[in-house]
C-alpha cells in the first residue's frame, strides 16, 4: 500500500479549468486603474476618460492579436457566458428579424451549459435546436456535422476545447463545413485561449467567445469576436448607453479589461513554453497514476487534448470519496458551475460513460503555476487515497457477505 504523503502547507490547486489564479503580472498592470486612473472610458470629453479609453483600446488590440483578429472585431463582455449568450441569441434573433426563414441551430452534447441553455432558450422563440452526439473520444465527427447540415441551418456552435475533458475539436475544419453549407459558425474559446494557437482570420469562424479568468486574467471580463468581413450582425442581448458599437451596453470595467489584455499578451508570449512544461508535468502524473492505480482510464482523445487536462476514471473508488480523502488536493468531479451539483456529468455521459463510471471520474487541471512538487504530491496522494478507498470498499463488502 502506498503511504500517504505529508500534507502540503497550502492546498495544491489542480483545478485550472474551473478558474485560474490571476497572474501577479496581470494584477500589477491593473493596479493603477484601481487607483489613480479611474476615468470612465466613455467620458471622452475629458482627459481622464480619454486615458481610460486609450488603455481599453490597447487591451482590445492585445486580445485581438491573441486570437488572430482585428481589434475592431472584439467586443468586451462580462465573461464567456455572456459572450455565448450574445452570440447565439443575438445571431438567431437578428437573422429572424431580417426575415431569414431558417430556424435550425446545431450544437454539440458536450458544450458548456451556457451554450446548451442559450440554444434551448431560443426554442420558445420558434428556433429548432439540434444537439449532435460526439464520438467516444469526445470529438465531433465531421460527417455528423455534414449530415446535420443537409437541412438548411442558421447557426452552428462548437466549443474549441472541452472544459471537462480538454479535448480539442478541429474548429478550422468544422467551421469550413458549416460555411460551405451557408450556416454561421460560433465557437466557445473559453478553455482554448492560451492553450492552443488560435487564428480566427484563417479559420472561417463568425463568432467566438473568450473568458478572462480561464487564462490567468481577472473574473468579470471576457470578449466576443464578431467577424467584420463578411460582417456578422447581431441583436444585442441588452441595450443602454450604446457602448461596444451598440452590441454590449454598460460601462466598461477599465481595470479588468487592462488585466484581460495583459493576460492575453502573456498567454500568447508564453503559449509554447507553458504548453511544453505543462505537458511534461501531465505526462509524469499520468505515468505514475497508471503505474500505481491499475485499471485507471483516461477519458477523451489522448492526442487531440490540451496539455493541462487529465480526465480519469478510477477502477473502484468514487470521486467523492477520493476528494474527501485528499482535502489538500483541489480537483473536481466535472465542471464547476452550479455548486454542489452531484448529478453525473452530462459531458462524460455523452462520451459513453455510465453514471457509475462518471461518479468515479476526476478532472485534473494542470496550469501555469503548477510545480513539479505539486505533481509529486498529487500522484502520491491520489494513489494513497485510491488504495485506502479500495481497502475500505473491500472491508465493507467483506462485512456485507
Amino acid at each position: 500500500m502506498t503511504d500517504a504523503p505529508s500534507r502540503p502547507n497550502q492546498p495544491v490547486y489542480l483545478d485550472n479549468q474551473a478558474t485560474t489564479r490571476c497572474d501577479p503580472r496581470v494584477v500589477q498592470v491593473m493596479l493603477p486603474y484601481f487607483s489613480e486612473e479611474y476615468g470612465n472610458p466613455h467620458s471622452a470629453e475629458h482627459i481622464m476618460g480619454q486615458r481610460a479609453e486609450a488603455a481599453v483600446e490597447n487591451a482590445r488590440a492585445q486580445v485581438a492579436a491573441t486570437i488572430g483578429a482585428d481589434a475592431r472585431e472584439v467586443i468586451f463582455t462580462s465573461g464567456a457566458t455572456e459572450a455565448n449568450n450574445i452570440a447565439i441569441k443575438g445571431a438567431a434573433r437578428f437573422a429572424a428579424s431580417m426575415g431569414d426563414p431558417r430556424r435550425r441551430i446545431l450544437t454539440v452534447a458536450t458544450e458548456h451549459k451556457c451554450v446548451l441553455e442559450s440554444v434551448a432558450d431560443l426554442t420558445a422563440e420558434g428556433f429548432e435546436p439540434v444537439v449532435l452526439s460526439v464520438r467516444p473520444d469526445g470529438l465531433l465527427d465531421p460527417e455528423t456535422l455534414r449530415e446535420a447540415l443537409a437541412i438548411p441551418t442558421l447557426l452552428v456552435s462548437v466549443m474549441a476545447v472541452n472544459n471537462e475533458t480538454g479535448v480539442i475539436q478541429d474548429i478550422a475544419g468544422l467551421a469550413a463545413i458549416a460555411k460551405a453549407a451557408g450556416a454561421l459558425f460560433h465557437t466557445d474559446l473559453a478553455q482554448a485561449v492560451g492553450k492552443i494557437g488560435i487564428d480566427l482570420t484563417a479559420w472561417k469562424v463568425d463568432l467566438a467567445s473568450v473568458s478572462g479568468h480561464k487564462l490567468y486574467g481577472p473574473k468579470g471580463v471576457g470578449a466576443l469576436f464578431v467577424r467584420r468581413r463578411p460582417r456578422v450582425r447581431l441583436t444585442p442581448l441588452f441595450s443602454g448607453g450604446g457602448q461596444e458599437r451598440g452590441l454590449r451596453s454598460g460601462t466598461l470595467p477599465a481595470p479588468l479589461i487592462v488585466g484581460f489584455g495583459e493576460a492575453c499578451r502573456l498567454a500568447s508570449a508564453d503559449l509554447t513554453a507553458d504548453a511544453e512544461r505543462i505537458a511534461v508535468l501531465r505526462g509524469g502524473l499520468w505515468d505514475r497514476l497508471q503505474r500505481d492505480i491499475p485499471g485507471i482510464h483516461l477519458n477523451g482523445s489522448d492526442q487531440a487534448r490540451i496539455a493541462g487536462n487529465l480526465n480519469v476514471t478510477f477502477p473502484r473508488a468514487t470521486a467523492f470519496d477520493l476528494m474527501r480523502a485528499v482535502p489538500d488536493l483541489c480537483v473536481s468531479t466535472g465542471s464547476a458551475c452550479s455548486s454542489a451539483e452531484m448529478e453525473p456529468s452530462y459531458v462524460l455521459r455523452a462520451l459513453g460513460l455510465s453514471d457509475r463510471q462518471a461518479a468515479r471520474t476526476l478532472r485534473i487541471g494542470i496550469g501555469r503555476f503548477t510545480s513539479a512538487a505539486d505533481i509529486d504530491y498529487a500522484a502520491a496522494a491520489l494513489a494513497a487515497a485510491n488504495a485506502a478507498c479500495e481497502a475500505a470498499d473491500f472491508e465493507n463488502s467483506a462485512r456485507d457477505t
Binding site: 457566458t81 441553455e117 470595467p253
Partner: protein, 372 residues
C-alpha cells in the same frame, strides 16, 4: 498641464480605499466559487459575505440579491424577467438602459422640476391592466430624487410591478427596497465607489422572475449564468459599507458652494433643488452650448460632463432636460457631480475656472449685467 479636478462622479469615480483593499486581497484567493474544494469554498465565503453586506445594506435578504455585470444588465434583467404579459410604463427621464429595454413603453411625463408626474401615473394604472412600471430613484443628469414610495404605493394599489433604477441614488442617499415598497432595484458598484464590472439586481420576496437574461451554469440560483467576479464583488461590498459611513452633508455643502459660484456667473440650476442627491448639480449657462462649456472647463483642468457618459462622447441634447421642458437650456447644461473624495480646494478651482469660462464665452451677458 493642469492638475485635474474631477467632477464626473455620476459617470464613474475613484475606488474608495476599502474597496481597493478588498479587491486586491480577493485577487490573492484562487478558486471558482462554484467549486467544492477548499479554495472554492474560501472564495465562495468571500462572495457570500459580500452578498450579506450588500443585501442587508439595501434592506433585503441575501437570497434575493442577484449579482450582474452592472446597472445596465440589472435593469435589463429586471425588465426581461418581470415584464412578461405586462404593459411597460416608464418615466420620461429613465436611463437609456431602461429606455432601450422597454421598447414601446408608455411614458410618464415629468414637470419642469424634473419630478415624475404621479397623477399621470395613477391615471395610466387606473385601467387595471397588468403593468411593469420603471421609475428611477434619482436621475443621473439632474440628481433629482423621484417619489418612488408614492409610485410603489400606486403600483401596489393597482396590482402593477415597480422596478427602480437606483444606480445613482445608492451610496448617496439611504436606499432600502423594503421601505420603498418596490419590487426590484438595480444597483451599480462603480457609481458608489466600488469597482466597475459588477452590479446587483435586488428582488422583493414577492417579485416574479420568469427567466434569466444571461443563461448559463445555474449560478445565482439560476437567475444569472457565468462565474461571478469575486474580487469585484468583495470591492462592491466594501464600498457599500464605506458609503454608509460617508458624510453626505459635507458633499452637499461643497456642491452648494460650487453651485453658488456658477449662479453668480449667470448660470441656472436645472431640477428641483430641494429634492436632489447631495453630490449632483445640473447647471445651464444660457447661450453657451454644453459641449463648448465642457471642453473649455477641461482645458482649465475641470472634468465635468454634458449629460450621461455612455456611448462615445458624442454630445446629444439630453432627453432628460428636454422632457423637463427646458427648451434651448437643455443643450446648454453641464452636469457637475462630486466624487466621494472631493476637497474644498477642488471647489475653489471650479469656481475660478467657471468664472473664466463664463466670462470668455458669455461676454454679452456679463456686459448686460453690468449695465442693469
Amino acid at each position: 498641464m493642469h492638475e485635474t479636478h474631477y467632477f464626473d462622479a455620476n459617470a464613474s469615480q475613484k475606488l474608495c480605499p476599502a474597496a481597493r483593499d478588498a479587491i486586491l486581497l480577493a485577487f490573492e484567493a484562487v478558486g471558482n466559487p462554484s467549486s467544492v474544494h477548499r479554495p472554492g469554498r474560501t472564495v465562495r465565503r468571500i462572495m457570500e459575505d459580500a452578498r450579506d453586506v450588500i443585501a442587508n445594506g439595501f434592506g433585503l435578504q441575501s437570497q434575493d440579491l442577484v449579482f450582474t455585470s452592472g446597472g445596465t444588465e440589472a435593469d435589463a434583467t429586471a425588465i426581461h424577467a418581470m415584464s412578461v404579459g405586462r404593459r411597460l410604463i416608464i418615466s420620461a427621464i429613465e436611463h437609456d438602459a431602461v429606455r432601450s429595454a422597454a421598447t414601446g413603453a408608455v411614458i410618464v411625463p415629468v414637470g419642469r422640476n424634473g419630478i415624475a408626474d404621479m397623477e399621470a401615473l395613477e391615471t395610466l394604472l387606473s385601467d387595471g391592466n397588468p403593468s411593469l412600471v420603471c421609475l428611477m430613484l434619482a436621475n443621473n443628469e439632474t440628481g433629482v430624487v423621484q417619489p418612488v414610495e408614492q409610485a410603489a404605493a400606486l403600483c401596489r394599489r393597482y396590482g402593477a410591478l415597480l422596478h427602480v433604477d437606483a444606480v445613482q441614488a445608492a451610496g448617496r442617499i439611504p436606499v432600502r427596497l423594503d421601505l420603498l415598497g418596490a419590487h426590484s432595484l438595480a444597483i451599480s458598484s462603480h457609481k458608489l465607489g466600488g469597482p466597475a464590472g459588477v452590479g446587483a439586481l435586488l428582488l422583493a420576496p414577492d417579485a416574479p422572475f420568469t427567466a434569466p437574461l444571461v443563461s448559463g451554469g445555474g449560478q445565482e440560483r439560476g437567475r444569472r449564468g457565468g462565474t461571478p467576479p469575486v474580487a469585484l464583488i468583495a470591492g462592491f461590498a466594501a464600498a457599500v459599507l464605506a458609503g454608509q459611513a460617508a458624510d453626505q452633508q459635507r458633499i452637499a455643502t461643497l456642491r452648494d458652494a460650487a453651485e453658488r459660484a456658477a449662479l453668480a456667473c449667470g448660470a441656472v440650476v436645472c431640477g428641483d433643488p430641494e429634492h436632489r442627491l447631495p453630490n449632483t448639480s445640473c447647471i445651464a449657462l444660457p447661450g453657451v452650448a454644453a459641449g463648448v462649456q465642457v471642453i473649455a472647463l477641461d482645458l482649465e483642468g475641470i472634468a465635468v460632463s454634458a449629460g450621461a457618459a455612455c456611448s462615445s462622447g458624442k454630445v446629444q441634447t439630453s432627453h432628460v432636460l428636454q422632457a423637463m421642458g427646458l427648451g434651448t437650456l437643455a443643450g446648454e447644461a453641464i452636469r457637475v457631480s462630486l466624487p466621494w473624495n472631493v476637497m474644498e480646494a477642488d471647489i475653489d478651482a471650479f469656481a475660478i475656472a467657471y468664472r473664466r469660462v463664463a466670462d470668455r464665452l458669455r461676454p454679452t451677458l456679463v456686459q448686460g449685467h453690468a449695465r442693469s
